[in-house]
Amino acid sequence: MKNGFGVFYAVVIALGLSWAGFVVAPAVQLGTAKRTTVLVTGDNWPLQRTGAATLGEQVYRANGCVACHTMQIRQDGVACEVTLAKPGKTPEVVSNLLATLKLSGLTKEEADATIEKISTAGGKAETHVIPTGADITRGWGVRKSVAADYLYDAPLQLGTLRVGPDLANLGGRMADANWHLVHLYAPGVVKGSAMPSYKFLFEVRKVGSAPSSDALNLPKEFAPADGYEVVPKPEAKQLVAYLLSRHADVPLYEAPFTPATKP
């Protein structure tokens, strides 16, 4: 082979560059990531999962949920909204000024300029930082998913297909565990749900001396025969605990926003 060494060097360089780009660079960038701090409250982020939720992560993995669900909220942009906090000593002047100003959909510079104008008129205004994007419009999340949200995930199950909705902030938007259990057993309770039934995570059994407190409260068409009840197996409870542990709803330095509720 006349160009043997040339081919060898080319292969070394090609593989070396991919290794550097796909392995070394991410490890340098995020390999030493630690828990971070939530803006405004100063709490730690992310929260460590409970035991049940950690087991539930494996149930999620075993049942291939990742094939149809993603866990990553995308954010296309960010906008500022200016609201009046205190009208000040000359409320009429300020309200007249407010009527002439554009108050939402601003960039940070525009928002700062607007606040400057309002404070010259005597009022006091606040800026609200609001993430925008299709996922956020759908109500799947309030901000984009960032690396810190996945710190305790093993393995990382980001997902690539959205047959079902995104689950990155499920605990933040649908916190009712019983609803999730019913939906896993009988997805038909939700109109248009394309999810298959996960009946094998539940046990249909004869009611004993008293009905179980865990028994699902099912609508008539999905309920078992009289004298029987549907009880979730531990796997179902763990899966729901895991789903409810998925949160991406606090403001972080790398994904800032102004929380909706202020004290």
Binding site: Q29, G42, V78, E254, A255, P263
Partner: protein
């Protein structure tokens, strides 16, 4: 090009050989222009591989610009710490509990203009009779705030002074630091009369 074509059309029994030819100049120029455009785009949008920069923010400065407010909100941090350390005796509503702790809502010890006296209580503890809202209280409070960081204690006091109808202004971590330095390392519970003799 024509020379190469000739070299390929040798008699068919000859062994074919790989030949070298120079890359046309225009390919090199186009590649360099594409690389340049790529680097300009990278410079504008990458945040230079900073782990804290995500789209739609292109740089650390942009992320910094969109931060809501400055640092933790003392009313939220204060409420969290109040519920943890104070609420079991003083109550979540600041109304106090008979035989356990006097009220904080509307207390003349809390809604003072200065906060020197108020900050002394969680830092040093309090013992002996005091009068709160016309009622005599003779209990012991441990120095609950002595082990708290300055910022957290300041937040708790700010929360107390601005909740349940109280409106008495903010206390900063530096204020607590100053008062802590006055007290020294070993706090002793203050007696009620001595506290009232102190400046606000």
């Amino acid at each position: 090009m024509s020379e190469e074509n000739q070299s390929c059309s040798l008699p068919s029994n000859a062994e074919p050989t790989a030949t070298r030819s120079t890359v046309p100049m225009w390919i090199i120029v186009v590649t360099l222009v594409l690389v340049f455009i790529g680097f300009v785009f990278f410079d504008r949008h990458s945040g230079w591989f900073d782990a804290k920069v995500y789209a739609p923010y292109g740089s650390v400065e942009k992320v910094e610009a969109y931060q809501p407010g400055t640092g933790p909100n003392p009313m939220i941090v204060g409420k969290k710490n109040y519920e943890m350390f104070c609420a079991s005796c003083h109550g979540s509503d600041g109304a106090g509990k008979v035989g356990q702790a006097p009220p904080l809502a509307g207390s003349e010890l809390v809604i003072t203009k200065g906060f020197h006296r108020l900050a002394m209580i969680p830092l040093e503890g309090l013992t002996g009779p005091i009068k709160v809202k016309g009622q005599e209280w003779n209990l012991i409070m441990a120095p609950m705030g002595a082990a708290l960081p300055d910022a957290d204690l300041a937040a708790v006091l700010t929360y107390i002074r601005n909740s349940w109808g109280n409106k008495a202004g903010e206390i900063t971590a530096d204020d607590i630091k100053t008062i802590r330095a006055e007290i020294g390392a070993h706090p002793v519970p203050i007696v009620g009369d001595k506290l009232m003799a102190m400046p606000e």
